[in-house]
Symmetry: C2
Subunit: 195 residues, 2 copies
DNA sequence: CATGAATGTTTCCAGTGGAAATATAAATGC
DNA sequence: GCATTTATATTTCCACTGGAAACATTCATG
């Protein structure tokens, strides 16, 4: 691999993904076009076809990378022996912070039609992110009812809660009063752990 | 107003909005283009400019109509003397049902960049929808902590919960087990009312 | 070293939103 | 009642988009 200008790029697949992430940061989702991304990587606009098939394929790879980063961000600064509460706080806060810090990428990750939502690599990264949330909320005594499937319901509710909070924050639907309280740990009820 | 083909349409503004809603239903958000919408209304692709300025203006009007319908749907089948629990159930369930029944419209309504999010008419309809949710959750004894701004926090959390649930359902992020439990009232904890 | 596979380029096409100039109809003023 | 202004819609043009197809170059493998 060299940086000299050769006919074959040498690392195009990876370069296209990072170019895409850069464009999302600088120009938002609307600015992320095939041609824009290819130009930034220094190739013609049809070169990505070899690696990703089409635009949706490229966006899928970028979104998958986004989930990878989200997973990492939810685990940031956690030592091996972090407590359950520390892990839970890091995961919840990390999720919301990530959405606010990378709104365009977040929008792409949760857009239904821009990506190939059935792509195995994407699905794997989505699952990895969700597993962090699920593990962090395990054992939370948040519902005292005796409905069945308590664990499954708890997972759905907590993911919904965190995701909805992030989504409404990023999309600006919260009103002015609400925007002053964007720390999810501050807004969330004091869920305690069982046992 | 006549249905005969005249140079002046006579009811173009309204027709464009309903055409847009039809296209969203039939072809999804990706199919909703200025030209597509104009053709369906029987005018040239630049005609909408007089009424909505540009594409974003048209999409803004369509989204506002969407919030209007959402508000109505959250209040469906409610008699004057409906109980708080009935109103809450109708609002929560109506919100999720609406998202699942009109996924493309819902996507447009909560997309940050496709609409003019500062538009007064849009903001008014967004607020109207939120007020339904807020009223329906008023008095819910959902958090026993003594943190300040309990009402504001409760509103944010419940909207987050319902919106996140709808969003994750529509976008297909819930896994197979979760997709079998898409009734939010069944998944939600048994929040009780105070007093 | 030759041949096939992988990787990029060039060229073309249909589609998009929008600007600008123009055409038509409606509304208003005298 | 007629002329002028205003509102509404069309036509034409442009830059941009994703993708198909044919071609060029390099790599990898026998």
């Amino acid at each position: 691999m060299s940086t000299a200008k050769t006919y074959h790029h040498g690392n195009l697949k990876e370069t296209l993904i990072t170019s895409g992430l850069d464009i999302l940061r600088e120009q938002g989702l609307a600015g992320l076009s095939l041609r824009n991304c290819a130009e930034r990587a220094g190739v013609s606009h049809t070169a990505p076809k070899n690696h990703f098939g089409n635009l949706a394929g490229l966006l899928t790879a970028i979104a998958a990378r986004g989930y990878q980063q989200l997973t990492a961000h939810m685990q940031r600064d956690l030592s091996e022996d972090a407590s359950r509460i520390e892990r839970r706080n890091a995961a919840f806060q990390g999720y919301v912070e990530f959405a606010l810090a990378h709104p365009a990428l977040y929008e792409l990750m949760f857009s239904k039609h821009k990506t190939n939502s059935g792509d195995p690599e994407l699905l794997a990264q989505v699952t990895a992110s969700f597993v962090i949330l699920r593990d962090a909320s395990e054992g939370l005594d948040w519902d005292k009812s005796d409905k069945p499937d308590a664990d499954l319901r708890a997972q759905m509710m907590l993911w919904s809660l965190v995701h909805g909070f992030a989504q409404l924050s990023v999309s600006g639907k919260f009103d002015k009063d609400m925007m002053r309280k964007l720390d999810i740990l501050d807004v969330m009820p004091d869920f305690q752990y069982r046992s």
